[in-house]
């Protein structure tokens, strides 16, 4: 169990770190897909199968596609992108900041006594999840549905406005 967890973690972290450090955006996006797949495996390992499927559908299926489209649509700029003048300084400060936060987290985790009981008897079924969603959490489901609809419309509106201004600029 522990071995599986460590493997998954290492895989996920490695692909995420690589994705964040590569210059090629397409490669970065593909490596991020691998990282998200690792997270999905973690969900499977933890017994949240439904979440694993949701992660696969949404991140690996949908968001990755959106990211790729965004990369391709902005490709000209990406190709022309010269290294920023202050890139080095920012990278160094970013790593220091990240290390500081990580130190705080690790310290908190390692020095906090976490004595919860181990091993659950059974996992949480999709049926129970559905009952939870349609019963006590129905209002939240509705709100999320509204948020998604608004986000969809907002995305369309933003993109459409951009296209028109581009035409006006061109003409």
């Amino acid at each position: 169990m522990i071995v599986a967890l460590i493997t998954i973690a290492l895989f996920t972290l490695a692909s995420a770190a690589l994705a964040m450090s590569l210059r090629n955006l397409i490669h970065s996006a593909l490596l991020l897909v691998a990282s998200w797949a690792g997270v999905a495996m973690f969900y499977l390992w933890a017994g949240a199968e439904f979440l694993a499927f949701a992660q696969g559908l949404i991140y690996i299926g949908a968001i990755s596609m959106v990211v790729l489209f965004a990369v391709l649509l902005t490709r000209r700029s990406v190709a022309e992108l010269a290294p920023a003048p202050d890139g080095k300084w920012r990278s160094v400060t970013a790593i220091y900041t990240g290390c500081a936060v990580a130190a705080v987290f690790f310290g908190a985790i390692l020095f906090t006594p976490l004595n919860f009981s181990a091993g659950p008897a059974r996992s949480f079924t999709v049926r129970e999840l559905g009952q939870q969603l349609m019963g006590p959490q129905a209002a939240a489901v509705l709100v999320v549905g509204v948020i998604l609809t608004v986000a969809l419309l907002g995305g369309v509106v933003l993109a459409a406005v951009g296209r028109r201004t581009e035409k006006e600029d061109a003409s």
Binding site: V67, S77, I109, A151, A159
Partner: protein, 103 residues
């Protein structure tokens, strides 16, 4: 070391990788992706505490993560649409150049 502690270390490491990415990269798309990684790390935390927490049958962790994923999807859609809109406007996806509202 217990699985819970390992999971938490895993999630905090992923969080910090996302944070470093978001801080270091000047490409807006990658900044967004770093933020997505940070969101994923928090989701891992929820699941870890649900899995090893005192009240396993409550299912709140799973439901919370489900909503978090939904919101993350919305965020990605709007964020990338914004990136494209900004790009169309000033022909650049460099985050430093999107500073028109500075004081």
């Amino acid at each position: 070391m217990s699985p819970l502690q390992l999971s938490l270390l895993f999630s905090s490491a992923l969080f910090c990788i996302g944070l470093v990415g978001a801080l270091a990269r000047s490409n807006t798309i990658l900044v967004l992706l770093g933020i997505e990684l940070m969101l994923n790390a928090t989701n891992i935390n929820f699941i870890a505490f649900w899995r090893y927490g005192p009240n396993h049958t409550a299912g709140t962790g799973v439901i919370f993560v489900l909503f978090s994923i939904a919101v993350a999807a919305a965020e990605a859609a709007v964020g990338l649409a914004l990136v494209i809109a900004v790009y169309r406007h000033q022909q650049s996806i460099r985050l430093q150049e999107a500073n028109r509202l500075k004081g």
